[in-house]
């Protein structure tokens, strides 16, 4: 079986000046979108920025992003053998690539601490 998932990923530091990258990921049933992104980091490009901690427990709630325009947890969204478009959350401040600032203001490193 050589099915692939085609992940079209938004990359950049600035919402106004990003670009798209497309990666083919070997597809296996029972994988999550996060598994696919982690595969890309190991096999293609370790500079791809994603935020995650618990990997597949859906406990940390850190891996939020937009899949085909809808907000999902990347670790619970199923990887599928088709084209899938991934973007950072549009309603949060961009940090880099698929990572946005999702912490409550009181739990961020900010001017008050400096």
């Amino acid at each position: 079986m050589s099915e692939t998932a085609t992940l079209k990923i938004w990359r950049g530091h600035d919402k106004a000046a990003g670009h798209w990258e497309t990666h083919e990921v070997p597809f296996e049933a029972g994988q999550s979108v996060l598994d696919g992104l982690r595969w890309i980091r190991v096999h293609k490009d370790p500079t791809l920025a994603i935020r995650f901690s618990c990997i597949n427990a859906n406990a940390c709630k850190e891996c939020m992003m937009e899949l085909d325009g809808e907000t999902v947890y990347a670790c619970t969204a199923r990887l599928e053998p088709r084209a899938m478009t991934l973007e950072p959350l549009s309603n949060k401040k961009l940090v880099r690539d698929l990572v946005t600032e999702i912490a409550p203001p009181a739990e961020r490193f900010a001017a008050k601490d400096r």
Partner: protein, 557 residues
């Protein structure tokens, strides 16, 4: 950037959050930081079920019974004062969380306590359904929000502790969110960074558990203890592949419903390894891990290389009552427990070893305290189910109290001098560096294959050679850049710690020429009386010195 505080708490799991609350209540300014987001990045938020504590709510109990069980499970190696503290101070912390509104599961008006392997009576409190860790985390985070004096910041990864004149004076962190280095001066620093499970290919915890705290402490000249004892959780989920479920999810099912562990001939097999289960959940983690791996080795493993776990004898009603919505999540993954067994296999789960500390959580280095899973010794060669959360709460509380005492007793404090670390972070990456994500994966494979639960001298030697090769590939200059969320740079810093910690585990395992608890040497089967000692790891320049030493014992009374 510079920050100044009374108490710096590194890590916001149960241990770090409890420590922060305690120090702030004693009047200190506290800076609580985490490499991930506050209260979300560690093992605490992932725990599902058991918190062992002699409350006596279910059946009469006393901390001394819990203490006896802990020592027995530890196979003669527990640091007795630490183990006693865990058991004796546990009930007060659990009641405190109850008062803070955690919502421990209740039965007939009292807090419910479930039976777990290795305990002599039902002793584990929990929050339904599979919600213990999230509830602990949320409750402590809520209290922190309401406690004056605690600043919090996520995305701050500590790279090194700062020392001057033999004392720890704070730390240097890398702000993952911006790529900026941050120097933090503190009168007391508490390392509450959790365990090291990320060293292994199959592991139950989060991406942040690379053993940072052990490496930080070692570089600051604080000794580590019991590093060879990595706990594997016997029944980690193996197949079929599941989405959105914790790999250790079957533990709570076994607490509540028993379940049967079967080999590929569909026979129960744990009796061959000295523990007849008979549909009940009584096997301790070290024996369970050994039994499953030996069955696989004998050609009786399940198709993916583990054992079957079956709940086919349970009724739909019993399953639904015990697990409510979880049954639907399983159904969404195509799993009907009434119709099929699932496959399980051992998975790296917890670290018994850690930074050596006394009952005040003071390490050998003034200014440096530890708390939670980062502390070594309380659980000896094997940890009982449910002791880790209790340990995190109790040790966190103690560390907070001790830190506040130090702050009050101090007149002047030295600013943190982090120049060596700042120099490191200022460096540019070498040309064409290797892929850090791939390096992490290769290291995990080495550790899983050669430093897993079943060990031999030859495998451990091979692992040390590989670790040396990884060290050379990593070099002295961080990869990646100085921008926001540069994971190559973060992973370079992680590998620097992971390789140090991998070396301590492997070398300590090579030196211990016997089998005990979680450390099984196939070339040295059986426990040896002479090895009823702990091993202490110290840094001597660029070398590790690992020597036998007995952990503290209780004075006979």
């Amino acid at each position: 950037m510079r920050v100044e505080t009374d108490v710096l708490v590194i890590g916001s799991g149960a241990a770090g959050m409890y420590a922060a609350i305690e120090a702030a209540r004693a009047g200190c300014r506290v800076f609580l930081i985490d490499r991930s987001l506050i209260g979300r990045g560690g093992a605490t938020v992932m725990a599902q079920m058991t918190v062992a504590v002699a409350l006596g709510a279910e059946t009469p109990d006393h901390w001394s019974h819990h203490y006896q069980d802990t020592l027995t499970a530890g196979r003669g190696l527990c640091d007795e004062p630490l183990a006693r503290l865990l058991c004796e101070a546990g009930p007060a912390c659990i009641n405190q969380l109850d008062a803070w509104g955690i919502g421990w599961a209740r039965k007939d008006g009292h807090i419910a306590q479930a039976f777990a392997p290795g305990h002599d009576r039902p002793r584990c409190v929990y929050v339904d359904f599979l919600n213990t860790g999230p509830a602990v985390s949320k409750t402590l985070r809520g209290v922190i929000n309401k406690t004056a004096g605690i600043s919090r910041a996520g995305d701050l990864c500590v790279v090194d502790l700062a020392t001057s004149h033999g004392e720890v004076t704070g730390a240097v962190a890398w702000h993952v969110g911006s790529g900026a280095p941050v120097t933090i001066s503190a009168k007391a620093t508490i390392v509450a960074t959790g365990g090291l499970t990320r060293l292994y290919r199959r592991n139950s915890a989060s991406a942040n558990m690379g053993g940072d705290g052990y490496a930080l402490a070692l570089r600051a000249n604080a000794p580590l203890i019991d590093m060879e004892f990595v706990q594997f959780f016997p029944i980690g989920h193996l197949a079929p592949r599941l989405i959105g479920m914790d790999p250790i999810m079957w533990d709570p099912f076994r607490y509540k419903l028993g379940g049967r562990l079967l080999n590929n001939k569909m026979e129960e097999f744990t009796d061959r390894y000295g523990v007849a289960e008979d549909g009940k959940y009584v096997i301790t983690r070290d024996v369970g891990t050994y039994a499953i791996l030996k069955e696989v080795e004998a050609g009786r493993g399940s198709p993916h290389g583990g054992a079957y776990l079956s709940f086919q004898h349970c009724s739909a009603e019993a399953l639904r009552e015990a697990f409510g919505p979880v049954i639907d999540r399983l159904a969404a993954n195509g799993i009907d427990l009434m119709k099929m067994p699932i496959e399980v296999a051992p998975i790296a789960h917890y670290h018994m070893g850690g930074v050596a500390a006394d009952v005040r959580m003071q390490t050998e280095v003034p200014g440096l305290l530890v708390a939670g899973e980062a502390v070594g010794g309380a659980n000896g060669a094997n940890r009982l189910s449910g002791n880790a959360i209790t340990e995190a709460l109790v040790f966190g509380q103690r560390a907070g109290i001790t830190a506040a005492e130090r702050v009050k007793a101090m007149r002047a404090s030295a600013p943190a001098d982090g120049h060596a670390t700042l120099d490191l972070l200022r460096q540019d990456a070498p040309k064409n560096p290797p892929n850090t994500a791939e390096m992490v994966q290769s290291l995990q494979a080495t550790m899983a294959d050669d430093v897993g639960p079943l060990r031999t001298g030859a495998k451990l030697e091979r692992a040390l050679t590989r670790i040396g090769e990884f060290d050379a590939a990593l070099g002295e200059r961080p990869f990646g850049g100085k921008q926001a969320f540069d994971l190559s740079r973060l992973e370079w810093l992680d590998l620097r710690n992971m390789l140090t910690v991998a070396r301590t585990v492997t070398q300590a395992a090579l030196q211990r020429t016997e089998s005990r608890g979680a450390h099984q040497r196939e070339d040295f089967p059986g426990m040896v009386a002479d090895w009823s000692v702990n091993q202490v790891v110290r840094r001597k320049g660029n070398r590790l010195d690992i020597a036998p030493a007995r952990a503290a014992e209780m004075a006979a009374s």
